[in-house]
């Protein structure tokens, strides 16, 4: 059972040890063990792989894209993808075909991935943090503050998500930043609920009592003791919600309230392609496939992270 004490441990043994020797060693070892259990989940690794690929593609979009995503060529409008049938052969250079203004769809998808990542990152930074703050404060302090905060959360929850976002964008004006704000505004209440529920179970545990008995203040307990335990379940929930967020952003784009026309946002691209969907399927299908793939990847990763991070599955 025990590893034999050979001269110098290999890096792997060093990371797998149960007896870390310094703060950094302990942290590295626990991270490595989490990584190992994530690695054993093949679907999660597939999701992670797709997302890594997305990040690389977005970073290298300017190198990889065969054409300028904004340059129009009306003579070559609605060119089908290159593998299309002989009756309607594709043209060299337009791998995934071109849209109604003759722009290369592949290049637009590549550049669009930047926008998608931008939206996803901003929402992922805003909504869960707001939710975490509101939920843990409400859950830990209790009393009237809990009632007020949670009723506000309920009000936001009561609105249909897309309608609220629509109303918000309509007042502030269309654009990616406002779309992000709108989505975050509608996305935080579930996180607040999760964080509060989690906090309620944590706050009466002995280890919180123990730190109270050292004279620790409320803010310290919330940020140092409760947050670390809530964050893992929020991370899982955020990854699982990412698909929904991408779709909401695409939905706003589709309605013309998100990214504005020349911008190659995926939802907006579908919206444009809609007019030609019967005769020229690829215009709407290609960005649709991109959204589908990325959403699926986030979902797979989220499922895997849940297995790794969920504290209910035992401590290690």
């Amino acid at each position: 059972m025990s590893l034999s004490d050979t001269q110098k441990p290999s890096l792997k043994e060093w990371l797998l040890t149960d007896t870390p020797t310094s703060r950094r060693h302990a942290r590295a070892a626990s991270l490595y063990q989490a990584w190992l259990s994530l690695k054993s989940n093949h679907m999660a690794m597939l999701g992670l792989g797709i997302l890594m690929l997305l990040v690389i593609l977005a970073a290298l979009a300017s190198v990889l894209a065969p054409a300028d995503p904004f340059v129009q060529d009306l003579a070559l409008r609605l060119t089908p993808p290159i593998w299309q049938s002989d009756r309607d052969p594709g043209i060299e250079g337009y791998i995934l075909g071109s849209d109604s203004l003759g722009r290369d769809i592949l290049s637009r998808l590549l550049y669009g991935s930047r926008i998608t990542l931008y939206i996803v990152t901003l929402v992922a930074l805003m909504a869960p943090i707001v939710g975490l703050l509101v939920g843990t404060i409400a859950g830990y302090t209790g009393g009237w503050l809990d009632i007020v905060l949670m009723r506000i959360t309920d009000i936001f929850l009561a609105f249909p998500r897309l309608i609220l976002a629509l109303a918000f964008v309509a007042t502030l004006g269309a654009g990616i930043e406002n779309a992000v704000l709108a989505i975050s505004l509608t996305a935080w209440p579930p996180y607040a609920r999760i964080a509060r529920a989690e906090t309620l179970t944590i706050r009466n545990s002995d280890y919180i009592h123990a730190v109270r008995l050292q004279g620790a203040g409320t803010m310290r307990i919330i940020t140092k003791h409760i947050w670390p335990l809530c964050i893992s379940s929020l991370v899982v929930r955020v990854t699982l919600d990412m698909a929904g967020i991408i779709l909401a952003a695409a939905g706003l784009g589709f309605l013309g309230l998100g990214a504005q026309p020349p911008s190659p946002e995926w939802g907006a691209m579908i919206s444009e392609g809609r007019k030609f969907i019967l005769d020229h399927w690829w215009v709407a299908t290609m960005p649709g496939l991109a959204i589908f793939t990325v959403s699926l990847a986030f979902n797979l990763l989220g499922d895997g992270l849940r297995d790794v991070l969920d504290p209910k599955d035992g401590a290690s």
């Binding site: 059972m1 590893l3 797998l16 190992l36």
Partner: protein, 283 residues
């Protein structure tokens, strides 16, 4: 004495990241119409042994044995479906905390009735009569009232008695009790044990009593297996517990504080690595 259960060279293994972990290592014993105690500390494999007999070890855990027979009939080769018939009908199990073994949204009576009717084809009316008789048998004073109660309305001791009633109603041949009284107060503990003892003796059942409490087991059982690190280090007649020879058993006995024999410092068990590697003793 006829053998109810025979186990030879039982192993329970769990693959882990750092290799295979052997929770139970080559345990052999047989059980007649008697009360057999299995004692050990946490991690000694005592509960795993009990669960392995019922084949309740979930994958990736593996159970292997040279022989595991219930009245001469093999248990290892049976399909999951056949095992389901064995569980409850022929071998039943009582867990530590009744709070987790009773369904919280079903009335007590309905649960016992369901357990009974799963194994016996009887009418509802008959089942109810039998259920109430069974509740009476575990010394519940007002069985009609308890019959209609929900699990959260009964105390821990009463809950454990209800579990015993439920487990005994199909008339099993063997009962495995895994720390059945650890969650109970001392005074209730004795009461529950007495009831269990009476029922088991009256029906000529075999009982496997798993516990961490040496004294409790020795006062209640006929024979005791002492487990350490997945193997049996010593087997004893229960009344000869205080003549135990293995240093582990002696160490456990000496480490208990005693009201009648006060001392300033308690003896601390010194663990010998050889205990964990020696061959298992068969019982």
């Amino acid at each position: 004495m006829s053998k109810l259960l025979e186990v030879e060279n039982l192993w329970v293994k769990f693959p882990t990241r750092t290799g295979v972990f052997d929770a139970v290592r080559g345990v052999s014993f047989s059980l007649g119409q008697e009360r057999l105690g299995i004692v050990g500390e946490s991690g000694s494999g005592k509960s795993m042994t009990g669960r392995a007999i019922l084949r309740l070890i979930r994958p990736p855990g593996m159970v292997t044995a040279d022989k595991m027979e219930l009245e001469g009939v093999d248990l290892l080769g049976r399909s999951e479906r056949e095992m389901r018939k064995v569980r409850g009908q022929q071998i039943s199990m009582i867990m530590q905390d009744p709070k987790f073994s009773l369904n919280p949204v079903m009335r007590v009576g309905a649960q016992i009735m369901e357990a009974y009717r799963l194994h016996a084809k009887v009418s509802k009316k008959e089942a109810k009569l039998k259920t109430i008789a069974m509740l009476e048998a575990v010394a519940i004073r007002d069985p009609e009232r308890v019959y209609r109660m929900y699990p959260h309305e009964v105390s821990g001791g009463m809950g454990q008695r209800i579990m015993i009633a439920m487990m005994l109603i199909p008339d099993p041949k063997i009962m495995i009790a895994d720390e059945p009284t650890s969650a109970l107060d001392v005074s209730v503990q004795m009461q529950v044990l007495e009831i269990m003892d009476k029922l088991v003796t009256d029906r000529g059942m075999g009982l496997i009593f798993i516990s961490h409490d040496l004294n409790l087991v020795s006062s209640f059982c006929d024979r005791v297996l002492i487990m350490y690190a997945g193997r049996v280090v010593e087997t004893l007649q229960a009344d000869k517990l205080h003549e135990a020879e293995h240093p582990y058993t002696r160490g456990l006995l000496n480490s208990l504080p005693r009201l009648d024999a006060p001392k300033d410092r308690l003896d601390v068990l010194k663990r010998d690595p050889a205990w964990a590697t020696d061959e298992s003793v068969s019982g």
